[in-house]
């Protein structure tokens, strides 16, 4: 988590986006001090629902940059992610993948490759970048917790992408669960030895398996109209000048100013 947070700091700085316009709905409880330091608005949602919550935030105020940080992405958050990608909602999804449910005693998640659990899980894990790419995400990348600089660079790039971007962050599980899940070496050491940077690799080939090297890098970078673009185009086409495009600030709103202050 530490490296993710420092990468978030650096990434936001690099992107040059005003931090007050950034909001982070997350199903992972951050330490409040960290959020304060980060200088963003933060919501903790139920497990996996950060993307759905973020969709409401983005639609309610299109000027926001929304960064859902999701731990439960492919289980409870699966459908939200799939549809977020399909409609290309402008969100930067940071998926923190440590292969286990940390809070409830190290049970394996659907992202765990076969060798990482006591009797070996027997289910195939998800390949997040491939799934994101096929659902229509405009940007997919994967970095381990050791690639702080690259992760920060990815975050700053993705913040300027128009559409759903997804960055998978391979994070270490705590040591206690390492024993339960029968991971022999230190997982960071494992990442260090096994991560190979392969930018622009076809996302179909980047599944994490116990026997092969972990491929990291930026896999997808494309352009597609976002949800709000399509919403505006469709309504303008039918309603012509009766329709005020969503996300533009009207004269009245400008005149009334900031009602909070």
């Amino acid at each position: 988590m530490n490296s993710l947070i420092s990468a978030l700091h650096k990434g936001i700085d690099k992107s040059g986006i005003d931090r007050t316009k950034i909001s982070v709905p997350s199903d992972i409880p951050f330490v409040p001090g960290v959020i304060k330091e980060l200088g963003v608005d933060y919501f903790q949602t139920p497990r996996g629902r950060a993307i759905a919550f973020g969709t409401g935030l983005k639609l309610g105020n299109p000027g926001l940059k929304v960064i859902p940080v999701v731990g439960d992405l492919m289980t409870l958050g699966g459908n939200h992610f799939v549809h977020g990608g399909r409609r290309n909602m402008e969100l930067l999804v940071l998926c923190v993948n440590n292969f286990i449910y940390k809070k409830i005693g190290g049970k394996p998640t659907p992202s765990m490759p076969a060798a990482f659990s006591p009797y070996s899980t027997f289910e195939e894990p998800f390949n997040f970048p491939h799934l994101g790419n096929s659902c229509g995400a405009v940007y997919t990348a994967r970095w381990t917790a050791l690639h702080t600089e690259e992760l920060a660079q990815s975050i700053s790039e993705a913040l300027h992408k128009r559409g759903l971007s997804m960055i998978e962050v391979l994070a270490p599980g705590p040591d206690y669960y390492r024993d339960i899940n029968d991971i022999e070496s230190d997982i960071l050491q494992f990442y260090y030895e096994n991560a190979v940077v392969k930018n622009n690799e076809d996302p179909r080939n980047v599944a994490i398996t116990p026997d092969e090297k972990i491929m990291v890098g930026k896999f997808t970078d494309k352009e597609r109209p976002t949800f709000i673009d399509s919403y505006n185009v469709q309504h303008s086409k039918i309603l012509k000048d009766k329709f005020t495009p969503h996300g533009t600030v009207s004269q009245e709103q400008k005149a009334s100013g900031d009602k909070n202050v």
């Binding site: 933060y42 919501f43 629902r49 969709t55 409401g56 309610g60 949800f227 969503h246 909070n260």
Partner: protein, 401 residues
């Protein structure tokens, strides 16, 4: 605060309950709808979608009802009045975020057009089977405001009430319609915009770096800010202190959750609304809400014609339940008769609040439609003749009355 005239369709219209609901929402300043299509609530979202561009409202059809309410809560934090419409199965899915909405104290409105349940039930028949779910469905302790309209006109009026309650108390408010009201077409009079009074959101006015998202004012309601204005706040669905930081001790549970309950219970007298008729000399009182109150009113008029002293207590707010009023009436009447389109939900509240002072008869009404009142008539007669006070709810099935 006066409402924005853009959303108000002033005049007299023939509207179905569902269409009146959408118009009520616009009149109440609602500018965001999250929805997932479901019969019998479909026409609300259709009407909303049709009119939204002209009014300047946004909508999204999400992937399921779980995400619908999540998106609605998110949109509400951006300062938009937000709502969702659904029916029984959708409401079941929304329970997770209803709890979150209560915990984050997020104003929003949930319209539930009730259909017959459980499970898949009958999507095209009316029911009042979700009344208890709206109150107790999510885990943990909370209080909610629920309104039950009985006509398209009330549907319109109650939407405005619902948004006002949600902003005043910072809670999700449920409008418990049903399939009968939803598809009933009646005349609805929409007043001019300057006659519609809205309760404005309570905004924090102090310095930006001093903002505490859950510091309560004297009404137990914390003032709110919009997201993205530089307040840099931290809110969590975990038990939290007034900074919005998670603190998971029993003391904090008391500090955090007790006010969620108290802010409604303490002001119950201000929220509770009932419509009373012929209560002065009544021996038997019909307690009803929503569509069944139409049958109850008819039954009361017919019974009055045959000389039985019957009164009517129609619940506008089902939650919080008008406990004091029912207890007061129980002391001076023989019996309450409660027709409901379910197998006994609000009748349990009536029985609880009558404290053994009056008989409580229950009629699982609605099998033959809301216009049918023979079963209510029969129970009224039985209630008048009953000499002793019996324990518990006396259930009267149509055949063996």
């Amino acid at each position: 605060m006066k409402t924005d005239p853009k959303g108000v369709l002033t005049g007299s219209h023939e509207l179905s309950g569902n269409h009146a609901c959408a118009e009520g929402a616009f009149a109440a300043g609602c500018r965001f709808l999250g929805c997932y299509p479901i019969v019998p609530a479909l026409e609300i979202s259709q009407r909303f979608l049709e009119r939204a561009p002209a009014v300047g409202a946004t909508f999204i059809q999400m992937e399921d009802e779980v995400s619908v309410l999540a998106a609605v809560l998110g949109a509400s934090w951006t300062g938009k009045r937000s709502m969702t419409v659904t029916s029984g199965p959708g409401l079941s899915l929304m329970m997770e975020h209803l709890g979150l909405g209560v915990m984050l104290e997020t104003p929003c409105v949930i319209v539930d057009v009730q259909m017959v349940g459980p499970g898949l039930g009958i999507p095209t028949r009316p029911s009042q089977g979700d009344m208890m779910q709206s109150r107790w469905g999510s885990h943990g302790d909370y209080e909610i405001v629920a309104l039950a309209p009985s006509s398209p006109q009330e549907m319109f009026d109650f939407m405005i009430k619902a948004f006002n309650f949600s902003e005043r108390y910072r809670i999700p408010v449920a409008v418990m319609s049903d399939e009968y009201v939803a598809h009933l077409v009646e005349r609805v009079v929409i007043p001019p915009a300057d006659a519609i009074e809205l309760v404005p959101r309570r905004y924090y006015k102090g310095r930006k770096d001093n903002y505490l998202p859950f510091k309560r004012d004297k009404d137990f309601v914390p003032p709110m800010v919009d997201i993205g204005k530089g307040y840099r706040f931290h809110v969590t669905g975990l038990t939290h202190d007034n900074r919005g930081y998670p603190i998971m001790f029993e003391e904090c549970q008391e500090y955090n959750v007790h006010p969620l309950v108290r802010k409604i219970r303490h002001f119950a007298d201000e929220i509770v609304e009932v419509q009373e008729s012929n209560l002065d000399d009544a021996e038997v009182i019909l307690v009803s809400y929503g569509a069944t109150s139409r049958a109850a009113r008819k039954a009361m008029e017919e019974a009055r014609k045959s000389g039985i002293k019957v009164g009517s207590l129609k619940l506008v707010t089902v939650w919080p339940f008008p406990e004091k009023r029912v207890a007061e009436l129980a002391k001076r009447v023989k019996a309450f008769v409660v027709p409901e389109m379910n197998f006994g939900q609000i009748v349990l509240e009536v029985e609880r609040c009558s404290y053994g002072a009056a008989n409580v008869f229950f009629i699982p009404h609605g099998e033959k439609g809301v216009e049918y009142t023979e079963d209510i008539q029969a129970v009224i007669k039985r209630a008048v003749q009953e000499k002793n006070i019996k324990d518990g709810v006396i259930e009267c099935v149509s055949k063996g009355v």
